[in-house]
Amino acid sequence: VCTSRFWFNYRHVANTLSVYRSVKRLGIPDSHIVLMLADDMACNPRNPKPATVFSHKNMELNVYGDDVEVDYRSYEVTVENFLRVLTGRIPPSTPRSKRLLSDDRSNILIYMTGHGGNGFLKFQDSEEITNVELADAFEQMWQKRRYNELLFIIDTCQGASMYERFYSPNIMALASSQVGEDSLSHQPDLGIGVHLMDRYTFYVLEFLEEIHPASQTNMNDLFQVCPKSLCVSTPGHRTDLFQRDPQNVLITDFFGSVRKVEITTETISLDSDLGGFESKLPKEELATEPLKYAEQLPVAQIIHQKPKQKDWHPPGGFILGLWALIIMVFFKTYGIKHMKHIF
């Protein structure tokens, strides 16, 4: 999830797309990825190289490519949509690619980047999500067993505050900086004119480049990525809610997708000479009535509709009390003789 928009937040989009690319490279298909971006970098009028988003300076690596499937773009990246995706309380008309269809054997990786503060994360410069809301959303997910294990990575200023309030089991969290510290960006590109990546994500990606689908690297190595000397901020992590020892958790458990597979040893025997299928044929000869279009919009009904009576509610107590107080004070202060000018 990239929670920023506007050209100067280029690095957040590049962060998210780089992680997306790594995760796809390690085997997770698009149907299992929900990508939320304010997709305004590649076609931004200020982009000197349109249709590209670079993550290394000197424009080495274009992470925007051909097969980026953004599920929530632009103004759809809101706190409400994010929480709806997590908890599953989605309107029934939402397409399958916008849903999180996980079950109790799914490991979920959540990566968030943007601008944040002590206990909150800013969404698109207009709203924010607090760490308590996030913890509650994860608890709702746990109640319905929507995850087996969850890895939460956040790359924002004061990122560690976002995972302080988690209380559901099987969650491991990583953040790029502690409370009170800012996460810094990595390198500006003079050709594009903005910073391309954040430091923490840059080093995480360098680490991930060495992982391949069958590798056995574990989480402890991921915790060592980006020490203070390189990152200036102190990355933090939280594993107390996680049941397994991080030493035994493979990186590919979350970043890649290695499925359990069993060899099929049983077969059933089918009798190929049954004539039972003939009963299906008559179905095709049912007379079908000629199709016609359903009434798309009952225009006649709408035009002749009378406007619905909106129920009138008397003003509430608070407003009435406030106005009574104001009027009383006014007349007491300035004298009762003004009353006759009004009535």
Binding site: S31, V132, K144, I268
Partner: protein, 498 residues
Amino acid sequence: ACAQLQLAVPVAVVFAPGSVSGDLPRPLPFGDVQETEIAVNQRTSVTSRYETVYRSTTAREEAALDAATAREADAALHLLQDASVGSLTVYVVPETSPLLPQGVSVYVGKHRSALVRAGGDLAALRTRLQQLTQVMSFTATSIAAALSDRVPDGQLGPDARRHLKSSLGYEITFSLLNPDPKSHDVDWDIEDAVNRYVQPVLDKLSLVANFSVDSQILYYAVLGVTPRFDKESSSFLLSAHSLPHVINPVEARLGSSAASLYPVLNFLLYVPERSHSPLYIQDKDGAPVPTNAFHSPRWGGIMVYNVEAPASPQASLPLHVDVDMVRVMEVFLAQLRLLFGLSWEELPPEFLLESPGNEGLADWELDRLLWAHTVENIATVSTTLTSLAQLLDKIGNIVIKDDVASEVYQAVASAQRAMAELAAGHLHSAFQASREAVTSSERAFFDPSLLHLLYFPDDQKFAIYIPLFLPMAVPILLSLAKIIRETRQRKKEPTKMD
């Protein structure tokens, strides 16, 4: 949430003439009840009641048992009984009966009855009966697996969450992968195969869920793994530990995300390229797998279909290939059974199972699924409603709409009905009620209106309201003070003037 479930299984034990053992406690017919408790965790327990009725055969049943083979006897007996879903009937035949072959003590038919060879005393018979009910209805493990999210971690084996979760419907997709259309022109008559072989199985399973089937052909879809060439067998081999990496590159192209919201089961038939033929799958010991297929729990299965090399090297490419759908469907349907958790592996010795034929599964296997799914559904409803209640307790200002409330009431009523039917032994109606309960509770829990975004910490309340109301309140409060002072002064005045 606390749950005490009672599962009642009606069992009838019918003694054929000559098979009654000498040490029956009472003369036939009589009945008894056996209860065992399966403790899942501290607050959940499942009690199984086997309500057994012992009686002797009727004349018509005797005639049926006179048949030549066990199979015919089973077919004849099926017509005579009206076995309800979830019940079992066990026929005890004399030791010398020709129905059961040598070395076989129990024959399990494809409906809901079994033939047991009488052998000695009542205790031996009771042991056999217990083994039989474990096979034909449910075991402690299968119930614990159905309730897997309540069992403390580590108690269940790693395989406990293999089977498909209970769902209202499933979507089955058959895909033919042809990575080398230049060499092979593959034709599969999938529609005919589905109508002939798959539809009967799905019709039988329609009691459990709604199924929909579709199929597709994908060209130039390769496996993500390069097979090794083995000189001894001059064939290509895919080792067992490379199999997990095969699925992901293909999944991206399967298009399963466009399908419905039900869980999707993918069955893939892969025809290897000319340059990689023949391709065999190796199991852990290095031997080629006879079915040449593997499956992944909760996902589906893949089968490799090798095409014979052309007789003459100058044969014109592409070769036309007509896929032998019988062989393919035998494997796919077996994989479908395994995905649902129906396997023939754990049979006690001396048991013989009748093959269910084209129907794919026996009636008692359907019962096994129904028992597990009903228990799972009831547990899910209980967890969902409890967590919804906890959510409402925690956040006071969520508004519950009327339709959400009615769904909750319906869910509770259906769940109670399901539990009552389970305790009475009516598996079919219990399952239907549990399904309704799950639908209602999921609809209530996942209603979009229940999303609360209003988290107001106290410091935010102060930060927002004080700058707004304090400046406004200052003149009002000062004027109020002035009014009160004036009123008090005026009260004192009249006394002074006197």
